[in-house]
Every structure is written in structure tokens, then in C-alpha cells.
């Protein structure tokens, strides 16, 4: 398989993991390691002064894993720039998953603010991976603004509904000059495999793994699905027939006569 390259950085794995919703940090770490992923997202929150909770970072810092801080919780480009500066300081990386979703009900990204923030953050030296609508025009605009990838949604965050935006994802993949990472809504390994077969460069998965009965096994299943989908894409899928007429894959010469 070809390596994935983002902003000059090579990745063997085309699966990124989110770290939310796991029932324990230990399980999260086991799932991350089982997935073979090399990039995991991390959020930020305000410290509570009497806070004694487990340090989640110790579970995700491994030599082969790059941290991808997100800006979850911000509602505007201005807030995103502030969050990005805090993230760069806290995690020592200028890579950023930009996400601006002001509406807590549907968590859909605000395209106007996302584009504006991408332009500003690129100027400030960030490697910006924007979570965005599956809008081909927007994705080209983000690319022109200097985004390192585009991360269009398959379905709303955490819904497990799969590739609801399938046709638009196809257009985005066809047009994009930067890697396309399908993010949000991927609920089963088959969804991830389909995205990869379509030519997506990577998938970001969180809820589907974190809430599985066995997150570690599910992480392995996603690892295998992403590899299978990518291998199939690189091998070249056969053409889908346009009607119901069969095409024999065995010789039709009779041998019993």
C-alpha cells in the first residue's frame, strides 16, 4: 500500500482514532494500539482546581503516534485561533483538527467560520486539518486556503449512519489535491472500507470503536477494513454492471453432452 502523506509527514496507517467516549483510559489505549493508528485526536477542557482525574495523555503518548489536538467547543473563527494557540502550547504540535460547530444538537460544522479560521491559522503556521461539510466547493476553498487535508463528514458526529454523503464524497475525492479524510458518522468497518474503496485517503473513527461491546476487537476490525478498502482501491475495482444481465466468469461450453 502507498503511504499516506500529510504536510510532508508519512503515515503507514490510514486510520485515525478519536479518544472520546471510551469507558476507561486503559481500554482507550488498548484500542489505539490494536488499531495500528498513528494519529489520535485529543480535546481540551478547562481544569477544575480540585481535579484528581487520571492523566489521559499518558495513555496516548507513544513514539509512533502523532497527537492531533482539536478545537471542539469553539463557535467562531476567533475562538478557534485562540484554542489553536492554547493547543500548540499544551501539546507541542502545530497540527490541528479544526472543528467549529456552534450548534450542539447536530454538531454540524460552520463552513463560513471554518474557512475563515483555516486562512488565519495557515498564516500563523499551523498544519490545519479542517472538519467540514461534504461540500465539494468548500473543500476546494479550504485547499486553496492552505488546508493540509480536508475532513468531510460522512454523517453527523456520533450517529454511526455511514456514508450518507456518499455522492458528494466521491466528487470531493475526485477533485481534491490534498488528502481526503472521511470523518464523523462512520459506524461500522464496512463503512470505512467503502470510503477507502472510493479513494478516500484515510478515515477518522471514534464513536463506533469507543462504544462497541469490545472496543479493542472493533479497533482491529476497523484496522483491517481500512487496509482492505485501500488495497481494493489501489488494485482497481471492477466496473459495476449497468443492468441485470450476467457476465459469465466460467466457460460456457457444455461438457456433459
Amino acid at each position: 500500500m502507498k503511504k499516506l502523506i500529510i504536510a510532508g509527514q508519512e503515515f503507514d496507517s490510514r486510520l485515525f482514532l478519536g479518544t472520546g467516549k471510551f469507558h476507561s483510559n486503559t481500554t482507550m489505549e488498548e484500542a489505539i494500539l490494536a488499531s495500528g493508528c498513528e494519529m489520535v485526536t485529543v480535546a481540551m477542557k478547562r481544569i477544575e482546581l480540585d481535579d484528581k482525574e487520571d492523566d489521559m495523555l499518558k495513555h496516548i503518548i507513544h513514539p509512533h503516534i502523532r497527537l492531533l489536538p482539536n478545537t471542539s467547543g469553539v463557535r467562531t473563527a476567533e475562538e478557534a485561533v485562540f484554542a489553536a494557540q492554547m493547543a500548540r502550547e499544551a501539546f507541542g504540535t502545530n497540527w490541528l483538527k479544526l472543528e467549529i460547530h456552534p450548534d450542539p444538537r447536530y454538531l454540524l460544522p460552520d463552513s463560513t467560520e471554518t474557512l475563515k479560521a483555516t486562512e488565519e491559522l495557515v498564516k500563523l503556521g499551523f498544519v490545519v486539518l479542517p472538519y467540514c461539510q461534504a461540500d465539494p466547493t468548500l473543500c476546494k476553498r479550504l485547499e486553496e486556503a492552505g488546508a493540509a487535508t480536508v475532513m468531510p463528514l460522512a454523517a453527523p458526529i456520533g450517529t454511526n449512519k455511514g456514508l450518507q454523503t456518499r455522492d458528494f464524497l466521491r466528487i470531493i475525492i475526485e477533485q481534491s489535491s490534498v488528502p481526503v479524510v472521511v470523518d464523523a458518522g462512520i459506524g461500522a468497518p464496512s463503512h470505512a472500507a467503502e470510503a477507502m474503496e472510493m479513494g478516500a485517503d484515510a478515515c477518522l473513527v471514534n464513536t463506533a470503536i469507543a462504544v462497541a461491546r469490545n472496543p479493542v476487537e472493533m479497533a482491529t476490525a476497523f484496522k483491517e477494513a481500512v487496509i482492505a478498502g485501500r488495497r481494493a482501491y489501489e488494485a482497481g475495482l471492477g466496473i459495476v454492471g449497468q443492468n441485470l444481465i450476467a457476465s459469465a466468469s466460467s466457460p460456457l461450453t457444455s461438457f456433459l453432452d
Binding site: G18, G20, F22, M44, A87, I157, L204
Partner: protein
Amino acid sequence: MKLKVNSKETEAKDGCTIAELASQLALPERGVAIAVNNKMIPRTEWNERILQPNDSLVVIKAACGG
């Protein structure tokens, strides 16, 4: 003097630096960032930056998220 840390009133000694406050609050060694009056202050400046009465600080740390 009184400061606001994540909107909570906090007492600190007069002339306290950010580094001293971080020590007082037992903040983790890594994965933390601090802003004073909405401006992020790099850790390299924590030793020199003296806090003023009524400064408002935002202190963040890593959290799980997708």
C-alpha cells in the same frame, strides 16, 4: 491578591508569577496551557510574567475527544 482561574476566584500572593501559581495549583507538567486576560502565555514566559490583581486566567488541559 485575588485572581480568577477558570472563572473561579482564587487567592495568590502579591507579585506571584504564572510559574508560582502553576506550582500552587499543582498543575500537571505537560498538556497544559494558560491564557491571561485571553492571551496565551507560552510556558517559557511563566517565570517572568507577574500576575496582577483581578487577572483572569484560562487554564486548559488535555481531554478525551474525537
